[in-house]
Amino acid sequence: VLVVDDDRDMLEVIRGVLEDHGLTVETATDGIHALDLVDRRAPDLVVLDVTLAVGSSRRVADRVHELPGAAVPMLVITADGHAPDKARELGAYAYLRKPFELVDLLGAVWQGLGRTSGSD
């Protein structure tokens, strides 16, 4: 799972909960680093913060959709009020508004990966 957010603390929390549940996590604090990881590591799922300080989330999303093979699901997280619109624009399958419950995040990630929530 690739997690992109310019808030380092948020990245570490998400990494913690996903790794606790047996997932391999890569993180990026800016769009440019994220593009590089998308290309190099071909993630199975991307968690993307809409408002990035450096590099646009749009470009990250486009690059994710351009990946060969089956479509890579993308989960959008954001603190701003236009989450549903942003999620639709970026082609995400779900969105979460900050602050969110970690169990909701886990549920959404399982859903994206095609597993049943709480099967672990």
Binding site: D7, M10, I14, V17, H33, A53, S56, P99
Partner: protein, 835 residues
């Protein structure tokens, strides 16, 4: 004075005058629709008036209004439209004055003219008709039809020459008579005239030229009387006297005349008209007392014993226009020479200062049986009073017209002074009280401009003493008029300040004067002075009454003008207030919008740390719930993280509060402490280096430490913002150089520069990137940002008394330079000196 909203016509202002005129109080009238309340009858239609107000901005005319008591009144109405800043009409000002009495007077004048016309038309013994200036018949009465045989439809429009015999027509008699009438105003003629059927009659004809106020010829009135019978009788008598007993008849007549003369003299002496009889040599043979008094003698006996030069030298005679009239042009003299004379209007005054009198002088010859003139009877009718009444009425009419012409009261009063000269006075002076209660000269009028200048010089050199016991100061002080019928030399001497002043005053020949107070709004506004000098006029109660009347009218006009001005100013103030209010509302709306935006942004920014804290806490809970539980290390790291986020969130809240202060234009409350700029820069560089692997951050410093009294947390924020930007706007990475140096001044300044190798800033944007919400045109839409960071940095630096500047070569990176004074400029700080 009524003010009403344009369009709805709802009354917004209703003056005291309106209450008195209409009987409605302001409370009752306000908010009502003007034309409903007053049941206005418009000359044409309300729409026509509104249309003119909208297009021309003003309207004037007469309206019929209904008062509260139901009485109809006619008002002269002047209306003007006020417009707002956009030029849209907002209010209509309406000033109405009651002209009902004048309208009634006009009505009765029209009625009396109508009666007179009917009278003329029905007169049967005289042919009375009017001719156009080209001598064509315009009207035709009963008498004319009877006398000359033409019906109106046969004669109107025809030339009047057809009434004359062919001989007279050839000789040009009709034209000659008209020429005389045109030149002298009136001509009388006797001779044969011709009827429609060709028969002749002996006619007495009087033709009078009709002129309008401006002296233009409007036509002629012609009165013709049939004297055929008298002519035949005279002819018969002449024949009889030639044939026989002429002398006997004449002597009988003479005797009869002598017998009745004493009786006649007794009657004539008491007659109001002056009667003078001269013999064929011009000697005065009879005068009645009235005539003697007119000529300046106590009674008839005194006049009859005086010599001719004595009588002639006693008075001066003028014609109607005021030009000297030679005695040989008086009717009696002209009759002696055999001329036919009509009445002559003359003005005369007894030498040595009495007032001027007007008289109609008519002379009639007495002839003997041979037709020789034996005596000339002159009848002098004193028309001074009538003339005065006419002149006064004309003057007041002219005055009323002038008073409505201007709404500037200074101008109005100047026109009053000009009108008074020379009709009422040789000099007219208007003084008014200024706002400080001092009497100032507003207008001086005299027919001779040189004299006006002289008067202005005089009043500048010898200003009026406000405490003077007479003159304008006293009249203004007491509010009572002053009349000096006869100015004595002693009074002139008393009024003079020095010998030169006296000489000038004497040269002015001041004869008589009167001063009346000018009231407006129940207060004395000033005084009008009328002075008689070279004209020899003397003022009495009659002139005083007239002058007071003039002052009342002028005062009313001043009141009106001031009310109008006040109303206009009030309306203008309303418009200004409205505009100011609208601007304030727009600003307020803008500020509220800014605050809303700010709150939304603040909430968004705070949600990120809250989300992280919540996430960190939940992660701890989730781990505690697992079978293997939570280890000490994880617990410590989690709590540390929560603590660190909270610290950063607090800094963020501080920053938001500073931003709020900046947006509301309030200064920052600096928490100055000794701060080492080098250490501060080092911490910032280390922290930001951790955020990026693509960038290399370096710090260079010429000095090991650079200490000033600054607000450390805020300077850290400045550095943080500059480094955030350096990272953000060099997306491809590169070196970011931070340099700290000391500029020893004076004054001593700490200098901090941050240089990157990023996208740079276009030169044209350098001037505005420190403004709120302004960003480089090359990054908008490319790299996210709010346009607040640099504005906030500048706010902090400038509050410290420093400056921040940017330099850039586009696409080759940007350099920001911050200069901070080491010493505070407010003088409070002594730390540097003490150290």
């Amino acid at each position: 004075v009524i003010v009403r909203s344009f369009g709805t016509d709802a009354i917004t202002s209703w003056s005291r005058g309106a209450e008195e005129l209409y009987g409605w109080t302001a409370t009752e009238a306000l908010g009502r629709v003007t034309h409903d309340l007053l049941r206005t009858q418009f000359p044409d239609s309300k729409e026509a008036v509104d249309a003119e107000l909208r297009s021309a901005g003003s309207w004037a005319g007469e309206l019929v209004h209904t008062r509260r008591d139901g009485q109809l009144i006619v008002v002269a109405s002047r209306q003007a439209v006020q417009r707002d800043a956009q030029g849209l009409p907002t209010l209509t000002l309406e000033i109405n004055s009651d002209i009902t009495p004048r309208k009634r007077a006009e009505e009765s004048l029209r009625e009396s003219e109508e009666r007179f016309r009917l009278l003329v038309e029905s007169i049967q013994d005289y042919a009375i008709f009017l001719l156009s200036p080209e001598a064509r018949v315009v009207t035709w009465n009963e008498g004319a039809q009877r006398l000359k045989g033409y019906r109106p439809d046969e004669i109107i429009g025809q030339s009047f020459t057809r009434f004359y015999t062919p001989d007279d027509q050839v000789a040009g008699r009709p034209a000659r008579l008209l020429a005389t009438a045109r030149a002298e105003g009136r001509v009388e003629d006797e001779g044969w005239r011709v009827r429609k059927d060709g028969s002749r009659f002996w006619a007495n004809v009087v033709i009078t030229a009709l002129r309008d106020d401006q002296g233009r010829l409007r036509g002629f009135a012609k009165i013709t009387r049939d004297l055929t019978e008298r002519k035949q009788a005279e002819d018969a008598r002449a024949r009889a006297s030639r044939e026989e007993g002429a002398r006997v008849a004449a002597e009988a007549a003479q005797a009869e005349l002598r017998a009745s003369r004493d009786q006649l003299a007794a009657i004539l002496s008491g007659v109001a008209e002056g009667i003078l009889v001269q013999d064929r040599h011009g000697r005065l043979v009879y005068a009645n007392d009235t005539a003697a008094q007119l000529c300046g003698f106590p009674d008839a006996a005194a006049l009859l014993t005086a010599s001719i030069p004595e009588i002639v030298g006693r008075f001066e005679v003028f014609d109607e226009s005021g030009a000297p009239l030679p005695l040989e042009r008086l009717p009696a003299q002209r009759v002696q020479r055999g001329e036919e004379v009509a009445e002559v209007l003359i003005r005369f005054r007894v030498r040595g200062g009495s007032e001027e009198r007007w008289s109609i002088d008519r002379a009639t010859p007495l002839r003997d049986e041979h037709g020789e003139i034996t005596q000339v009877i002159s009848i002098l009718r004193d028309v001074t009073e009538r003339k005065w009444a006419e002149d006064t009425a004309r003057f007041l009419d002219a005055l009323n017209l002038e008073l409505t012409r201007s709404l500037e009261y200074e101008e109005t009063l100047r026109r009053v002074a000009e009108l008074a000269v020379p009709r009422l006075a040789d000099w007219c002076v208007v003084d008014v009280l200024d706002e400080r209660g001092r009497l100032t000269r507003l207008a001086v009028a005299h027919v001779d401009p040189a004299k006006v200048r002289l008067a202005e010089e005089l009043s500048a050199r010898y200003p009026e003493d406000p405490a003077a016991a007479s003159g304008p100061p006293r009249v203004v002080r007491t509010g009572r008029s002053e009349l000096i019928s006869e100015i004595t030399d002693a009074q002139v001497v008393a009024g003079a300040r020095d010998a030169e002043h006296l000489a000038i005053l004497r040269s002015l020949q001041l004869r008589s004067m009167l001063i009346v107070p000018l009231h407006a709004r129940g207060q004395v506004l000033g005084a009008i002075s009328l002075v008689a000098a070279e004209s020899g006029r003397r003022y009495g109660p009659r002139e005083l009454a007239l002058a007071e009347d003039v002052a009342v009218r002028a005062g009313l006009a001043v009141d009106n003008a001031r009310l109008f001005r006040d109303a206009q100013q009030q309306a203008a103030t309303h418009v200004e207030l409205n505009a100011a209010l609208r601007t304030a509302m727009a600003q307020l709306k803008q500020e509220l919008q800014t605050r809303d935006d700010f709150l939304a942004a603040a909430a968004h920014d705070l949600k990120n740390p809250l989300a992280s804290i919540k996430g960190a806490a939940q992660l701890l809970q989730l781990r505690r719930a697992r079978p293997d539980g939570l280890d000490e290390h994880q617990l410590g790291a989690g709590l540390e993280r929560i603590d660190a986020i909270t610290t950063r969130a607090t800094a963020q809240v501080d920053e938001l509060l500073d931003l709020a202060r900046m947006q509301m234009g309030r200064p920052l409350d600096l928490n100055r402490q000794p701060i080492d700029l080098v250490a501060l820069a080092r911490e910032a560089v280390i922290e930001h280096q951790q955020r990026s692997e693509r960038h290399h951050l370096s710090l260079e410093s010429q000095v090991p430490e650079l200490i000033g009294r600054w607000d450390g947390r805020r300077l850290a924020r400045v550095l943080g913002n500059l480094l955030d930007n350096a990272l953000k706007y060099s997306p491809d990475g590169g070196t970011i150089r931070v340099e700290v140096s000391r500029d020893d001044g004076p004054p001593g300044v700490g200098v901090l520069t941050v240089e990157d190798q990023g996208v740079g800033i276009p030169e044209e944007d350098l001037g505005r990137i420190f403004e709120r919400f302004q960003r480089g045109t090359n990054v908008v839409g490319e790299i996210a940002g709010t346009g607040i960071g640099l504005a906030s940095a500048r706010h902090i630096v400038e509050t410290h008394g420093g400056s921040i500047t940017a330099a850039s070569r586009s696409r080759r990176g940007a350099t920001f330079t911050v200069r901070l004074p080491l010493q505070t400029t407010d003088g409070v700080d002594t730390w540097e000196r003490g150290a």
